[in-house]
């Protein structure tokens, strides 16, 4: 294609540097946000006003910012739950089910300590909170292990399995918190009993300590992939299972391990959202909304190209878009689901931009092309 005196061609990439990948990813996000502006227009809102509202609420508002951070923590954990199997070439779309299982397990611990009775039950946070976290991690890990085991042992399609498990756990939660279920709130209301105040997660500047868990995981995962044997094995398996097998890596253990690790982290996300975020502290009626939100972890993981550190700013952005989006939904009368719609547009834009990870646009002066044609480069 010629433009002016230049020739535009598409060329397959040989290498992709981190900077190039980052640039493409940023471009994708910007493009998606621009595209999403159409939804604003359709709702009768000026897109610039809309985004202004979103970002100022998300990052500059005293109520919005903590909400953003809480969602950021949640999303970062869900992203890691996706990233670990993703590096192994596997798709974990079961983070919603894994986080439900994590939440249920954490609340089961509370029941064991007799917390169902009332919010004022005195429990020792130093004992119960770690136990809740361990339970949540275990519950998520076990849920993830289903898909991981089936994949490793039988090569069953993990996409379908994780999705099915998502629905199974979804209904399990309903069973537990509604209509006479074991975790039901004494007042009915279709939600779980409330977390006793004594075991509210400790806050630092209004932010639950789980932020350190999330950021700590960031460093841990980065280190794991860069330096450890396990990280190497995951990468090798993800790029070429036959070559990995030749290198002595177990084709059974790998899927199982990465799904346990991913599920574990998603379970912690469940603990965070339902037991650590101020203002929630229970498995709410609309728990399904958070399950759906967890799928943002997929998009975040794909944009970050599986890099745990790159996921941090992206999860933060998404946290902001999510909290700002909910706010704007109310304020500008846009309609329920606008943040999910944004998720959809982001995802499809990202999918389209995958093309640029494999190809690049080359701009060359048209005259130079003619000169090159007759000469060996």
């Amino acid at each position: 294609m010629k433009i002016g005196g230049y020739e535009l061609t598409l060329e397959k990439r040989v290498t992709l540097t981190g900077w190039e990948a980052a640039a493409i990813s940023i471009l994708a996000i910007v493009f998606a946000l621009a595209l999403f502006g159409i939804i604003f227009v359709q709702a009768g809102v000026n897109p610039l006003t809309g985004y202004n509202e979103i970002f100022s609420y998300a990052f500059a508002n005293q109520f919005g910012l903590p909400l953003t951070i809480n969602r950021f923590i949640f999303l970062l954990l869900c992203t890691y739950a996706f990233i670990i199997p993703y590096r192994a070439g596997l798709w974990n779309i079961g983070m919603s089910g894994q986080l439900y299982a994590g939440a249920l397990s954490a609340f089961a611990v509370l029941v064991a300590f007799g917390a169902k009775e009332s919010r004022n039950v005195e429990l020792s946070p130093g004992v119960v909170i770690p136990l809740m976290m361990v339970a949540a991690a275990a519950g998520g890990a076990a849920t993830g292990a289903i898909a991981g085991f089936l994949k490793g042992r039988f090569d069953t399609n993990e996409i379908v399995v994780t999705m099915m498990v998502n629905f199974i756990t979804f209904w399990l939660v309903s069973h537990m918190i509604k209509e006479g279920g074991p975790f039901m709130n004494p007042g009915g209301r279709g939600e779980s009993f409330e977390l006793p105040t004594s075991v509210y997660a400790p806050l630092i500047a209004d932010i639950p300590f789980t932020i350190f868990v999330a950021l700590g995981l960031a460093v841990l995962l980065y280190f794991m992939f860069a330096k450890t044997k396990i990280g190497y094995q995951i990468k090798a398996y993800g790029l070429s299972p036959p070559a990995a097998r030749y290198a002595g890596i177990s084709l059974f253990k790998m899927p199982l391990m990465v799904f346990i690790m991913g599920g574990l982290i998603a379970g912690l996300a469940g603990y965070h959202m339902f037991a650590a975020v101020p203002g929630v502290y229970k498995i709410a009626r609309n728990y399904g909304y958070f399950g759906d939100l967890s799928f943002y972890g997929i998009i975040c993981g794909l944009i970050a190209q599986g890099n745990p550190l790159a996921a941090i700013p992206i999860a933060l952005l998404f946290g902001g878009l999510s909290s700002g989006g909910r706010f704007v939904q109310g304020k500008l009368q846009i309609g329920f689901g606008v943040d999910l719609a944004l998720m959809g547009v982001l995802m499809i834009t990202l999918v389209a931009f995958q093309f640029f990870f494999r190809h690049r646009i080359v701009l060359a002066s048209a005259e130079k092309e003619e000169l090159d044609a007759g000469v060996l480069r």
Binding site: V14, I230, Y232, K235, A236, A243, Y246, A247, I249, L376
Partner: protein
């Protein structure tokens, strides 16, 4: 548009001044070539000489940068293989272009303009059978292609081209996957087709005797140019080789005599199943000692790949046992085998032997991530592996700007050098080299063979699997031709005769040689 009726001897296909350039190389440089109806005209050249490019141009897959193509004396322009097919050019590819899951008939009529909306399989079957009988092909037309032998699959491809009306047949390495009796049948069919005024162009690499046996004329390519046009009658193996390679080629390697040591590998009654559930190894027994090269010679598909995999721990043995230095390893995992001193050079260097997207350092890590010196307490010492990689690159002559580039940017020869380096540097007790020189240029082939001989001098036991009978004969202390999962014999290297080994590779049972 069809070829006009051509009398015997008229040019069926001619190319003039064909030139094709790729970044950094001129693959075809002013090639002139002409084949007459009823002629068998071989095109000979090494890997990289430009044969594949020329072939793809003739078949319409590539467009030449310069030059013209003439069919039946008229200038033509192919924009796609479809144009070539419609003008009467048929191509029979080396890696079969067939759909294994479909039947022979379905494969032959695929894309045929006369197939019609609703398939009339009966009539098509009759028509195909007519052609098949005419040229002496014997195939079950209703069979699914995956069930056929290599020779039969090739026949299907030829029939497909003929059914489509080909009058010029281009054959890509026609005998590379065939056993000698199948080769005989193919030659007979080719001669029958030539008598029927078809023009046949086989493209061949190292099979010089074949060229002499089958062709009327030979055109030799080297570095993209035509270096010789010979009447086959007046050519010899040596003259052909010289034109192909440009220097005196030594056909036999010096076999080094090394003091024989203790048995390292002992295999007893080994049996295994293949992909489709059939038995591909039927009770194999043999031993390899220190300082010995045991060569398994066979046409691909006779079980040697599965044998390599079983010995490497990548495939389950159904029966029998495998012993390494006296220890039974039949049920050991591949990881355990590597740690015990087996080194495996796989035949599939791109899919199994390396990971393209990872750097050279990370590829070397494939054989070192479990090594206690390089990977301690779960942490991989990449710095140390990097140094090792740099040493290996230097020692094994891997042409690369550095150890951090992705493995996929290495050429085949260099990748094989790296794989060899990483396996042999661990000083394994047993080296299993599965088709180690396949697809490499002459320089790389010589290098690989020398490295194996070096390892032999270092008292390693070497199991060599080769599809090249000359390679097996010139390197091995013991030669075992394999056919349909069995060793036809185990013969001492010096005593092995080429004709005998070739016949055994094709299934002929001869008098038992020395065991």
């Amino acid at each position: 548009m069809r070829l006009q009726s051509i009398k015997h001897g008229d040019p069926a296909l001619a190319v003039r001044g064909i030139t094709k350039r790729f970044p950094g190389v001129v693959a075809n440089d002013q090639i002139d070539f002409e084949i007459r109806a009823g002629e068998i005209h071989a095109i000979l050249g090494e890997n990289g000489a430009g044969k594949t490019t020329l072939m793809n141009i003739l078949f319409g897959l590539y467009q030449p940068d310069e030059g013209e193509i003439y069919i039946g004396g008229e200038k033509v322009n192919f924009r796609s293989p479809l144009d070539a097919i419609n003008l009467g050019i048929g191509m029979v590819h080396q890696n079969r272009k067939l759909v294994p899951a479909h039947t022979v008939i379905e494969n032959i009529i695929l894309g045929h303009p006369r197939a019609g909306k609703i398939l009339n399989l009966k009539r098509t079957e009759e028509e195909i059978r007519e052609v098949s009988d005419k040229y002496g092909f014997r195939i079950d037309l209703r069979a699914k292609v995956w069930q056929l032998s290599e020779g039969e699959k090739q026949a299907v491809e030829i029939l497909k081209a003929l059914y489509r009306g080909a009058e010029v047949l281009i054959l890509d390495e026609p005998t590379s996957a065939l056993a000698p009796p199948e080769t005989e049948r193919l030659l007979a069919s080719i001669e029958a087709m030539a008598r029927d005024e078809l023009a046949i162009v086989p493209f061949i690499t190292h099979k010089l005797p074949l060229v002499l046996a089958i062709s009327d004329r030979v055109t030799v390519l080297r570095h993209g140019k035509v270096t010789a046009r010979l009447e086959t009658e007046s050519a010899t193996e040596a003259s052909l080789a010289q034109n192909m390679v440009g220097r005196e080629v030594i056909f036999r390697m010096e076999r080094t005599r090394v003091e024989k040591g203790e048995p390292v590998l002992q295999v007893e009654n080994l049996s295994a199943l293949g992909e489709k559930g059939y038995q591909v190894l039927k009770g194999i027994s043999f031993a390899v000692c220190e300082g010995e090269i045991f060569g398994i010679a066979g046409v691909s598909g006779n079980g040697q790949q599965e044998l390599a995999e079983v010995l490497a721990g990548l495939r389950k043995a159904e029966a029998g046992n495998v012993t390494l230095d006296g220890q039974d390893i039949t049920y050991h995992s591949s990881l355990e085998r590597w740690q015990m001193g087996i080194g495996y050079i796989p035949s599939e260097r791109n899919d199994v032997g390396s990971i393209g997207e990872l750097s050279l350092v990370e590829n070397v890590t494939m054989n070192y991530h479990f090594d206690g010196d390089f990977s301690r307490r779960g942490i991989v010492d990449y710095r140390r592996i990097r140094r090792l990689t740099e040493e290996l690159i230097a020692e094994y002559g891997v042409a690369t700007p550095g150890p951090d580039i992705p493995a996929k940017s290495l050429s085949g020869g260099n990748l094989q050098r790296l794989i060899l380096a990483r396996v042999i540097s661990r000083k394994p007790r047993l080296v299993i080299a599965n088709l180690p020189t396949q697809g490499l240029d002459v320089g790389a082939i010589e290098f690989v063979r020398n490295k194996l001989l070096e390892a032999k001098k270092e008292k390693a036991a070497i199991l060599l699997i080769s599809g090249d009978i000359d390679e097996a004969l010139s390197l091995s202390d013991w030669v075992a031709p394999i056919y349909e999962g069995e060793f036809m014999d185990i013969i001492p290297g010096e005593a092995a005769k080429r004709e005998d080994v070739g016949a055994m590779m094709a299934g002929l049972k001869l008098k038992a040689g020395q065991q």
